[in-house]
């Protein structure tokens, strides 16, 4: 097929992000300038975001390798917004970093481009390519402050386990190819991969599930999550928790919707069990954590357990549920990690992530802790926050599918989850006389990072009060 102008127009955001990555790289080669690199990144991301927003509602455009439909555009908006938040936080965070600062933005832009390709993929080649383009820069980002033992450990750990996941994924793809002789998703779906392929097709499907499960840290593939979350520098963890997870989940969603293999009863039962185990184990393991980043890591495991429910139930509500839940999870997570990053900014060694660093934060930084409180409430799914709308959807979907075990699991997991979310919240308000740990810089509210987290918290509340625009948007996916 030939590429027409409309194809080019649809692909322009990805091209723009790649071009900004090159521009930032050339800029670094010419003269190092932290502010300049950050500015270039922000301009590139913003331009791409504007383009995507204008493209919303356009007819889907397909190329042999990529599909730009409403789900793609939806994910692109979320990816670009998260990357922007990440870039803004990184600027404040890296100010105090002694080593080279500018490369972080290069890695960030590359990973963003990878995520955008991943969510748009309609061919196993682009799927693999996007996933690797997303993961490779993440190793660098997680190990960015490599003089810290934990950061280096996080990077290496993620590298090894991610490579293992990728191996599973590739192996699974090979099986599918052996069965069907196709690599493009529509062709695979039409050939009925996994269904008629007997043991080979089934093995391929399950192996792909395992590979993606690693990236989503679904139990039992979750072991890397807390260490990597704890060790990685704030902005890198923020990116990992938001963009990387979102992109991989969207691709899994695409596979499940399009492929008959995932609609088989057997694989759905498997997904249901994984969902139940993931939400319970994630929440249970979070109970004993005294490190906020670890705690959020376990909490993200639990949230992807909830999200898996949207893959289990066949219903016209399923994609809408996944969309709504992704948005609500994303805003709350970004706000929470944003606060952690701001409290640790500018960089002075290990992040301030231990819970005792946050004792009485409310009485020193009322707005910052209000943001963290709102995001915790949202993650716990309390009414008047976005998280409640998400939880409402998940519960509705489970009830609609009459999966009463999952309903029970969601209720039990939420009750367990409350325990640690409440612990974080109340810590913020406890007074400890004469105690002054790490703190955000006094003028944090004037900085861009402060505005970003306040905006996110505002969004959490607005979406909780008036979710109709979000619902209308996701209902069209």
């Amino acid at each position: 097929m030939t590429l027409t102008l409309s194809h080019l127009q649809a692909l322009l955001p990805v091209i723009l992000i790649s071009a900004s990555a090159i521009a930032v790289m050339l800029g670094i080669a010419w003269r190092r300038n932290h502010g300049g690199s950050a500015l270039g990144t922000a301009i590139g991301l913003n331009l791409a975001l504007i383009l995507v927003i204008f493209a919303l509602g356009n007819e889907p455009v397909d190329t042999p390798l990529l599909t730009i439909d409403s789900l793609t555009l939806f994910s692109w908006v979320l990816i670009l917004v998260s990357s922007l938040a990440c870039g803004t936080m990184a600027h404040a965070y890296l100010e105090g970093y002694k080593g080279p600062k500018e490369e972080f933005y290069l890695l960030l832009l590359t990973a963003t481009a990878g995520a955008m390709v991943l969510v748009a993929s309609r061919h196993l080649a682009t799927l693999f390519f996007g996933l690797e383009l997303l993961s490779m820069p993440l190793y660098g980002m997680l190990a960015y402050s490599f003089r810290e033992r934990r950061s280096l450990e996080a990077g290496v750990k993620y590298l090894v386990l991610s490579a293992a996941g990728t191996a599973f994924l590739l192996f699974g793809m090979a099986f599918l190819y052996a069965q069907t002789g196709r690599l493009d998703l529509p062709g695979l779906a039409a050939a009925g991969f996994g269904v008629e392929g007997g043991i080979i097709g089934l093995t391929g499907t399950v192996m792909m599930l395992v590979g993606l499960g690693f990236k989503l840290s679904i139990v039992p593939f979750h072991l890397w999550t807390p260490d990597v979350y704890e060790g990685g520098p704030g902005p890198a963890t923020l990116f990992l928790a938001s963009v990387s997870k979102l992109a991989v989940f969207v691709v899994l969603l695409r596979l499940v919707i399009s492929a008959p293999a995932f609609q088989g009863d057997w694989i759905r039962e498997l997904l249901a069990v994984l969902a139940l185990v993931t939400m319970l184990v994630g929440n249970l393991l979070a109970l004993q954590q005294s490190n906020l980043k670890r705690l959020l890591g376990y909490s993200s495991i639990a949230h992807f357990g909830y999200l898996l429910v949207s893959l289990v139930v066949t219903s016209n509500l399923a994609v809408e549920t996944a969309g709504v839940y992704l948005v609500t999870y994303l805003v709350a997570t970004l706000a929470a990690f944003g606060v952690v990053t701001l409290v640790s900014s500018p960089y002075q060694g290990e992040d301030a992530a231990a819970l005792h660093n946050y004792r009485g934060l409310f009485w020193r930084r009322p707005y910052l802790s209000a943001v963290l409180t709102v995001s915790m409430l949202s993650l716990a799914g309390i009414p008047f926050t976005a998280g409640f709308i998400g939880k409402f959807y998940i519960l509705a979907l489970a009830v609609e599918g009459a999966r009463w075990w999952l309903v029970g699991g969601i209720i039990a997991a939420s009750a367990i989850g409350l325990f640690y979310y409440l612990r974080v919240m109340v810590t913020l308000f406890l007074v400890e006389p004469g105690m002054r740990h790490r703190d955000a810089t006094p003028n944090w509210g004037l900085q861009a990072g402060g505005l970003v987290v306040i905006g996110l918290a505002f969004l959490v509340v607005v979406l909780g009060l008036y979710p109709t625009p979000l619902i209308n948007w996701t209902a069209g996916l």
């Binding site: 009485w363 008047f384 209720i411």
Partner: protein, 513 residues
């Protein structure tokens, strides 16, 4: 629109209190006081001008005031507020106890005054929302939302009890109990909405629509249980009461007043408004079990109250006992008993609020709630012991107090339906006398620990006590205005029960605690 303001005023007042702290510690107190007084005045005004006989048996769903706008059209969710006699009485109660809660923390709360009143007013706003919301989604939103400020109230301004029972632990326990049971109710609400959607093709969470939903027998039993458990945790009904004594004992006085006075009543309200009308048949079948649980609650609460050393824990256990009576009345389905339940709810709110405030005042003077360290306070404390005697007597149901009217109506109204239950429940009254007198004896009589006099009641404290006492006596001597207001609502519930088939006349002798 006036209904929206009833909810919004406390929320806005709370925000104002938070910001007003910069003008000194007194500003939030006065703002909070004015806000709650405003709510009280509005609800009394509505009571004065409104006609609450509208909700007739033949035409259910007629409200004295109503307000609805679409909220989430995707699921047919509306902001639907409506007021009838029952909700009005409870909102007026909320306003009154809100004023008391602000007044009783005037000297108790000295740290972070603004944030305290933000939480206090948001609880009250959430409670008003619960009493007004008719859309089930909205109802659930308010039901869950009021937990958060309550959590903060207990966790941040509470007292850490003895034996390693910290206030944060108590607050977390309270939150998890109520939130988990609330999610169970949400699942039941969703299932109801899905069944309704499957039947009619339309999404709706509206009260009238969901009431008409046709349910299979098993479905209605399960869904009824979902609602019942959520309300039973809040009421509380005995196997699910674990959070209550801790939360009460650890909460600041204002928190205890709110908890005992209003939050427990939201559960009874939920049963009357939602659980019974939605599932009349299933509820009628469930009635024997519910009444048995009520009996267990009466005796369990009373017996455990006798063994407490902490004065607030004692009062908390008596709440369990009193709510047992309310539960029996609700599931008896007779109008007289249901009216009695409303009177008892109000009376219990007054008497327990009075006792909690008094124990708060004792704590301010003695810095302990342990009754073993008290004794012989009569004569050292001015008029405080006298007031205590009045509320203790009200709590045990002495004629002339509103509690007597409520308990008498409940027992009298339930007797034709379930005589055995009434006979056993009457035994609870004896225990009530015992624990009430134990409280009085241990705290105010007996050998004195010291002889020097303690500070008497100041004008603020005296005024609070006097106003509660006046209400207890007024509704004890002349409960008719109250009965007129709620009569039509209760009559409707009775009709539902009668339509659901013969009410639990199988209550021969199989139920003993």
């Amino acid at each position: 629109m006036i209904l929206v303001w009833l909810i919004l005023i406390p929320f806005l007042g709370g925000l104002l209190c938070w910001q007003a702290e910069r003008w000194g510690p007194q500003a939030p107190r006065w703002i909070a006081l004015a806000t709650m007084a405003f709510v009280l005045v509005i609800s009394l005004g509505l009571w004065w001008v409104g006609d609450f006989t509208l909700t007739t048996v033949t035409e259910p769903g007629q409200w004295a005031y109503e307000w609805r706008v679409p909220w989430i059209p995707r699921f047919g969710i509306e902001i639907h507020l409506a007021l009838d006699g029952l909700s009005l009485v409870l909102i007026a109660l909320t306003g009154f106890l809100g004023v008391l809660a602000v007044l009783c923390s005037w000297q108790e709360i000295v740290r972070r005054v603004g944030f305290f009143h933000l939480n206090l007013l948001w609880i009250l706003g959430g409670v008003v929302g619960v009493f007004l919301a008719l859309d089930l989604f909205l109802f659930f939103v308010f039901w869950e939302m009021m937990l958060v400020p309550m959590y903060f109230l207990i966790a941040l301004w509470g007292h850490s009890g003895s034996e390693g029972k910290t206030r944060i632990r108590a607050a977390t326990k309270f939150f998890i109990y109520t939130q988990a049971s609330g999610l169970l109710m949400l699942a039941a609400i969703l299932a109801l909405a899905f069944i309704n959607q499957a039947n009619t093709g339309n999404w709706s969470f509206a009260y009238e629509a969901l009431r008409q939903t046709e349910l299979s027998e098993t479905a209605s039993t399960w869904l009824m249980l979902g609602f019942f458990i959520a309300f039973a945790v809040k009421l509380p009904v005995v196997p699910l009461h674990g959070w209550l004594p801790d939360a009460h004992a650890q909460a600041p006085t204002a928190g205890s007043v709110d908890l005992a006075g209003i939050l427990l009543k939201t559960a009874a309200y939920g049963m009357l408004r939602f659980a019974l009308p939605f599932f009349p048949e299933a509820s009628a079948e469930f009635a024997p079990i519910a009444m048995t649980l009520g009996l267990v609650g009466i005796f369990y609460g009373a017996v455990l109250a006798c063994g407490q050393h902490d004065i607030k824990r004692l009062i908390a256990y008596t709440s369990i006992s009193h709510m047992g009576f309310v539960l029996i009345a609700i599931y008896s389905g007779s109008e007289l008993a249901l009216q009695g339940a409303v009177v008892l709810m109000l009376a219990h709110a007054f008497s327990s609020a009075g006792l909690f405030i008094l124990s708060g005042q004792l704590y301010e003077r003695l810095h302990t709630r342990d009754m073993r360290l008290m004794g012989g306070l009569w004569g050292r404390l001015g008029s405080l012991p006298g007031f205590t005697l009045c509320f203790v007597v009200a709590s045990l149901g002495m004629p002339g107090t509103a509690n007597f009217v409520g308990e008498f109506m409940i027992l009298f109204g339930t007797f034709p339906v379930a005589p055995v239950v009434v006979v056993i429940a009457s035994g609870g009254l004896v225990l009530a006398a015992i624990y009430s007198l134990i409280l009085m004896q241990r705290v105010h009589y007996g050998p004195s620990q010291a002889s020097e006099p303690l500070a008497g009641l100041d004008r603020r404290e005296y005024g609070m006590m006097l106003s509660i006492l006046a209400l207890v006596l007024f509704f004890g001597l002349y409960p008719q205005p109250l009965l007129d207001t709620t009569g039509s609502v209760m009559a409707q519930v009775e009709v539902l029960f009668l339509e659901a088939g013969p009410p639990a006349d199988s209550l021969g002798g199989e139920d003993s605690p």
